[in-house]
């Protein structure tokens, strides 16, 4: 390749914005080849491909993010957009109000509590513990919580995505093994434990699971930002 052209393009936001979109479209096509396989997660495939390109070419993450920030920015309006399925399926939500409330409180305490306990057990520094604590909530919210607790928002972002991928991979086989067939309960657990990535997975399995996953993700963002102070 013409190295002058590469230097010119590699420092422009356009290359990394367009590149992220192209990689994502390719990753979703690859994931669609085997729809039942949670290991072919398009988010994980995209991150691995882009990370490999950056490491091999020596391009800094900051340079990449100048282009990719336009996609990252949409996490905010996407969180607001979760209010729409909430509105559309209000009746279904109302009939499940008490189970949702119980699952929200129990799940949120379990998510933050188990993470803080385990990271102390493994001897991580207070800053890393604070960065990990909100990892079940959606990226924008987790980063805000982490920086409020003197954590490292960049580490939080990465761990949030890993937690989401982990949840998206384990939720279906785990729920099947537990013989749980209630898709409202399955979806709620997916969204609570693994936010938007779990929700994307839940929508691909069942629309009711997707709805409850989106609600759980929103509610857990609120509750985690309140209860995290109990543990740290």
């Amino acid at each position: 390749m013409n190295s002058g052209l590469w230097v010119y393009l590699a420092t422009s936001p356009l290359l990394w914005l367009a590149g992220t979109l192209v990689v994502w479209l390719a990753a979703t096509r690859i994931a669609a080849l085997s729809p039942g396989n949670p290991l072919l997660n398009p988010i994980m495939l995209s991150i691995a491909a882009i990370a490999a390109v950056l490491l091999l070419s020596g391009v800094q993450y900051g340079t990449y993010f100048e282009g990719a920030q336009f996609i990252h920015f949409l996490l905010g309006p996407a969180t607001v957009a979760l209010g729409i399925p909430l509105y559309e399926k209000l009746a279904l939500v109302k009939t499940n109000l008490l189970p949702m409330l119980a699952a929200l409180i129990a799940g949120s305490l379990a998510a933050v509590g188990s993470t803080v306990f385990l990271s102390h057990l493994f001897g991580f520094s207070p800053s890393v513990v604070a960065s990990l604590a909100p990892k079940s909530t959606t990226a924008a919210v987790a980063m805000a919580i982490s920086s409020g607790l003197d954590g490292d928002p960049a580490l939080t972002a990465a761990v949030v995505v890993l937690t989401g991928i982990c949840g998206a991979i384990v939720v279906t086989p785990m729920m099947n093994a537990m013989r749980i067939r209630d898709y409202s309960a399955r979806g709620f657990a997916a969204g609570l434990a693994s936010h938007g990535i779990g929700t994307a997975r839940a929508y691909s399995v069942d629309p009711v699971a997707g709805l409850f996953s989106g609600i759980a993700m929103g509610l857990n963002a609120v509750l985690t930002s309140l209860i995290v102070h109990l543990f740290l």
Binding site: Y61, A78, A189
Partner: protein
């Protein structure tokens, strides 16, 4: 499309403003999410607002259908933490996997327990 994205951004802005006055306890987009649902319920019967409603629903569906890509830029940030991954990667992975499995189990059990206690029908 333009009306839809404007409405979402304005509600995010309202949410951020509320979050500022609440001392940042609840993140702005989450307040925006609750407020957009309340606003849709409150204005559901107002005829002149129907086109705006429809556009908000369409834009939201388009965004939520492509939710996954929004996590890619933050996820690539993992490359900044190679020291931590090299030195403590297994411990980090153990924490992530264990706490995710615990959270999934506790959440789904609490949901189904209370659903049965309150007489709801659980799909078996």
């Amino acid at each position: 499309m333009l009306v839809g994205i404007t409405i979402l951004l304005v509600f995010q802005l309202i949410g951020e403003t509320a979050a500022y006055f609440l001392g940042g306890f609840v993140p702005g987009p989450v307040i925006g999410m609750a407020m957009v649902a309340v606003a849709l319920v409150a204005t559901g019967g107002v005829a002149p607002l129907q086109p705006a409603h429809r556009q908000t629903l369409e834009t939201s569906r388009a965004i939520l259908a492509n939710l996954g890509i929004l996590f890619v830029p933050a996820g690539v940030g993992i490359i900044q933490h190679f020291d931590l991954i090299r030195d403590r990667g297994l411990a980090l992975l153990a924490i992530i996997v264990l706490s995710t499995v615990i959270t999934l189990a506790v959440t789904v059990w609490a949901f189904l327990l209370v659903k049965r206690l309150t007489g709801g029908s659980v799909d078996e």
